[in-house]
Amino acid sequence: MKQQIKQIWVGVAEGTPIGSVWLAVSEMGLVAVQIGGEAGELSRGLAARFEVDVTPHKFQTEAIVSQIQAYLQGARKFFDVVIHWGMMSSFQQKSLKAVYQIPYGETRTYGQIAAQIGMPHAARAVGRANATNLIPLVIPCHRLVGADGSLRGYGGGEGVETFERKHV
């Protein structure tokens, strides 16, 4: 059963190499991350979704803000944060906890994650869970690829051509 959220605080990591990164935490951990977009966009979305007060709070968010800044500047390769898993369905928790473990610079297919959580035929469901991930970047949905392992071919130069030939 999903846990009820009572209060959400938002903060922002500014001036990262990919622009501003907005984040939101509840009393039980990280709830959402939004890369780019406008100030207030994340707050409005979360207030409507969870029907709670969403307020800016530097102190409640500064630890995660500094980790995101360090990560995007190349100073750290993983996150050490508490995630509010309880807001997710049981299947989404299982899927995204496995995605959370994919190391920096590596990729996994949906099928590999499905197998890892003991449901080898649930690759599509893993894809759907990933597509509704509210915590991109920290839960690295960008490291999941299609069945053909598309991103692995990337090496630049001739790698692009190889990638196209194999996967497009």
Partner: protein, 200 residues
């Protein structure tokens, strides 16, 4: 539609300049901001033209740049950085469609206009509707040529690197396609004028 009016947002910088930016970003990831600033708009426009939704395009653009940033240490600058970047953007779009099972024709980010001439705006809008319906009926590979050239603003050399084809072949394919669209537009406009004349 003439090629001379294309704004080469992504392809305008000399490749040597991009190579320097890439080398700097590989050395120090915080320098990746320079590549991000240069390419975020063409990547966003390209993704928007595929998914036709601002939020989805923004999310996919973010994923594209995150994957690019993490894969950068393994990138070897032998071809065009933009070709590599757009290959990643394309794979993100394809993954998106695997999940959502839909693809749009060619939606373009709307830009405001200060043109005070309402009549020319209406005519242009009708022309754009005709053009959009013609583009909608193209093969996916043909639509992709138009997206990469006119939405993403890639040069022919960058498109060739991305598609794994010769530059001349890409150019020829696009010009043939444009000529076909132009003649279809002319036929539609002729039919429209005839109908208007009959109604007068």
């Amino acid at each position: 539609m003439t090629d001379s009016v294309v704004q080469l947002a992504a392809g305008e910088a000399p490749d040597a300049e991009i190579a320097v930016l890439v080398a700097r970003a590989k050395q120090d990831p915080s320098e990746f901001a320079l590549l991000y600033d240069r390419y975020i708009q063409p990547v966003y426009r390209y993704l928007y033209s595929r998914v036709a939704n601002a939020q989805d395009a923004q999310d996919l653009a973010a994923q594209t740049f995150l994957s690019t940033l993490e894969a950068l240490p393994r990138y070897r600058h032998k071809g065009y950085f933009s070709a590599w970047l757009f290959a990643i953007a394309r794979s993100k779009a394809m993954d998106f469609f695997r999940q959502h099972k839909r693809e749009t024709g060619l939606d373009v980010v709307e830009e405001s206009t200060d043109d005070p001439d309402m009549l020319s705006q209406v005519i242009r809008s009708q022309d754009m509707q005709h053009l959009a319906s013609l583009v909608q009926n193209l093969e996916e590979s043909e639509r992709e040529l138009i997206r990469l050239r006119y939405v993403a603003g890639l040069s022919f050399a960058e498109m060739a690197a991305l598609l794994g084809k010769k530059e001349g072949a890409v150019k020829k394919a696009l010009y043939r396609l444009l000529a076909r669209l132009e003649s279809q537009m002319a036929i539609q406009n002729g039919e429209r004028s005839e109908m208007e004349a009959q109604n007068d």
